[in-house]
Amino acid sequence: MKSGKYRFMAILIILVIAVHGLTRLTGTQYYLTQLTMSAYYAMVVIGLAVLMGYAGQISIGHAGFFAIGGYLSGALTTHNLLPFRETPVLVLLERLHILQTGQDLYGEQLLTVAPWAACLCGVLTAALIALVLGVPVLKLKGHYLAMATLGFGIIIFQIVMATEYFGEADGISEVPGFVVFPGIAGMGRLVVSGDFSLRVQNYYIAWGMLIIGMYLLLNLIDSRVGRALRAIHGSEEAAAAIGVDTARFKLQVFVLSAVYASLAGVFLTHYNGSIGPSEASIIKSVRYVALVAVGGMANLWGVLIMGFSLTFLSLRGIFGTYDDAVFGTILILVMLFAPDGILSIRARGWLKSGTGGPVDHA
C-alpha cells in the first residue's frame, strides 16, 4: 500500500516534468496556461473527494468556498486604501507590512493589502465559514445535506453578484501577482501571476501545490483519522459506538475541504488576475461533484486524474457551448452505470494500490 503511494507520486512528478518538456519541444507552451488552471481546479476536487468519497458527506456548495478565497484575496489586493492611509488601523497594518504600495494600469498610486495577507485572510475566512456553517448543517444527512450546502452556494453567489465591493456581475480584475514566500531569501522571485514570462514557473507552482496537497490527503486517508472518516461513511452509528466523535470529525473534514477549495480559489485568482461570479455559481459546484463522482469517489488518484483531465479539456474548449451540459450528462451517466466512477470499471484495482483499502460505494 505504502510503496504504491510513493510509486504513484513519483510517476506524477515525472509526468509533470515530461509534459513541460513536451510542450517545449513541440512549441506548444500555450498549453501550460490551461494545465496550470486545471491543477488548481483539481485541488478543489481532491479536497472534495475526501469529504464526499471518504467521509460520505456531500457538498454542492464548494464553489462557494473557492469564491470566498478568490474573491476576498482579489478584493483586498485591488481596492485602494490610500484615502484611509492615516486611520490608526491602517497605520498599524502598514507598520506590520500587511499593506503594500503599488501603481495601477494608469500609473495611479495604490495602497492595498499584501497578497500573502489577503491569501491568509481568504483561506481563514473560508475555514471559519465552513466551521460555522458545518455545525448545524452536518447534522443533516443525504439529500438534506445536499440541499443545505446547495443553499450555501446560492447565498455566496448572490452575495458576490450583489455586492459592489466584489464587483457585482463584472467580478474583480487587475488582481496583482502574489509572491509565494515573501520573507524567504531567494524565493522572492516565485510569483503566482499570469504574466507571460512567468508561465513555466506558475505551471510548477500549481502542480507543486497539487502534488503536496495530494500527498497530505493520501497520508490522511491512511491514518487514524482517515479510518475514522471511512467508518463514519460506513455506519455513523457503529462509528459512534466505538468512540468516534462523528460530529467533530465531519466538521473537521468539511473545514479541510473548504481550505483546499479556498486555497485553489486564491491562487487561481492571482494567476488569472481576475475572478468573476461564474466561479461561485451552482453549476461550478455541481461540476466539482461530477468530477469526484466520475473519478470514483473514494479514490483520490481516480479523482485527481479525472478532475484534472476533464477540466483541462473543458478549458481548452473541447466541449464548446455544451460545456455545462457535458458535465451534467457525465454526472447522470456515472450515477446510472458506474456509481463507483468510470475508472472503477477497469483501472480501479490498479489505482487502489496507491490509495489503500477496498472500494467504497457511493
Binding site: 497530505l216 490527503l217 497520508n219 490522511l220 491512511d222 491514518s223 487514524r224 483519522v225 482517515g226 479510518r227 475514522a228 471511512r230 467508518a231 461513511h233 460506513g234 455506519s235 452509528e237 457503529a238 462509528a239 459512534a240 459506538a241 466505538i242 468512540g243 468516534v244 466523535d245 462523528t246 473537521q252 479541510l256 473514494a298 483499502g357 477496498p358 472500494v359 467504497d360 460505494h361
Partner: protein
C-alpha cells in the same frame, strides 16, 4: 460496574421501558431476556447513549451516563455490538478492527497528514494490536478481505473484535447468536466466557435460551418494558411468572426439560 435506577423510556404513547432497575456487578455475565418487543434493544440503546431515557439514572463506574453521547460512553469503557450486524461498508476486516483502536489512540488531522513519527509509531501499534484480536477471534486469515463480504458468523466475530479493540470494561452484546447455527452458538458461548475471564464484564441480550442459561451469572427478565424477574439461571427457569409470561403455559415442559439438561 453498571447500575440502572428507575429507567423509563417513552416513544410517544408507548412505554418501551418502564421503571427498570438492576445492577451489573464487575466481572459477571449478566443477561437480559424477554419476548420480542419487551424493550431489550431499547434498554441497550439507553445504556450505550444512542437513546436518552425519559426518566431514571444510569450509573457506569459510579458516574451518571444518561444523556451522554455514544462516543463519550465508549471512551469511558463501554462498548457494544449490534443485533443487526453493523460493519463499515468498504473497509477490510483489519481496518474495521483498527477503527476500534480509535479512542485509545490520539493522532489527529495534522499528525496524519504530515505522517509525524509519533503517528507512525502509533499506527504500527494499532496494526499489531488489531492483528492480535483477529487471531484471538480466529479471523486473522480474512484480515484483508472486505468485512461485509464475509459469512454471517465471521461478521459477528469482526464486530466482537472491533468492540474489544476499544478495551472495554463493560461489553454489551446484542443477540450475538442471532442467525447462527448450534455449533457457531456454542463457539460464541465459549468466547463470551473467555471475554469474562479476560476481566471484561458482559451484559448480554439474547433469544437463544440455551446460550443464556449456560453462561449467565444472573438474568433479568423483561416483559412489555417491565422487569418481571431477576435471579440466577436455575431460579429463572423455575420462576412460574417467567415461564408464563415469557414462554407461555405450553412451553413449561420444554423449559423444565432444559433445566434437567443443564443440571446433568
Amino acid at each position: 460496574m453498571l447500575e440502572l435506577k428507575g429507567v423509563h423510556k417513552k416513544f410517544g404513547g408507548l412505554q418501551a421501558v418502564n421503571d427498570v432497575s438492576f445492577t451489573v456487578p464487575a466481572g459477571a455475565i449478566k443477561s437480559v431476556i424477554g419476548p420480542n418487543g419487551a424493550g431489550k434493544t431499547t434498554l441497550f440503546n439507553l445504556i450505550a447513549g444512542t437513546l436518552v431515557p425519559t426518566a431514571g439514572t444510569i450509573l457506569f463506574l459510579d458516574q451518571e451516563i444518561q444523556g451522554m453521547k455514544p462516543h463519550q460512553v465508549a471512551a469511558m469503557g463501554l462498548s457494544r455490538t449490534f443485533q443487526n450486524i453493523n460493519l463499515f461498508h468498504g473497509m477490510t476486516v483489519l481496518e474495521t478492527v483498527m477503527v476500534g483502536r480509535h479512542i485509545r489512540t490520539s493522532a489527529g488531522f495534522l499528525a496524519g497528514m504530515l505522517q509525524l513519527p509519533r503517528a507512525r509509531a502509533e499506527e504500527q501499534a494499532i496494526r499489531e494490536r488489531s492483528m492480535e484480536l483477529l487471531e484471538l477471534l480466529g479471523i486473522a486469515d480474512f484480515a484483508n478481505q472486505e468485512a461485509t463480504s464475509l459469512a454471517f458468523g465471521q461478521q459477528r466475530a469482526v464486530e466482537m473484535a472491533r468492540a474489544l479493540a476499544t478495551e472495554p470494561k463493560l461489553l454489551l452484546l446484542d443477540e450475538p447468536a442471532a442467525g447462527l447455527n448450534i455449533y457457531e452458538t456454542a463457539e460464541v458461548a465459549r468466547f463470551i466466557t473467555r471475554i469474562r475471564d479476560m476481566g471484561i464484564t458482559v451484559l448480554l441480550v439474547e433469544h437463544d435460551m440455551s446460550l443464556v442459561m449456560d453462561i449467565s451469572d444472573e438474568i433479568v427478565v423483561l416483559s412489555f418494558g417491565e422487569k418481571i424477574a431477576e435471579d440466577h439461571p436455575e431460579a429463572i427457569q423455575r420462576n412460574p411468572e417467567v415461564i408464563r409470561i415469557y414462554l407461555g403455559e405450553d412451553e413449561e415442559a420444554d423449559l423444565e426439560s432444559h433445566a434437567e439438561d443443564t443440571k446433568s
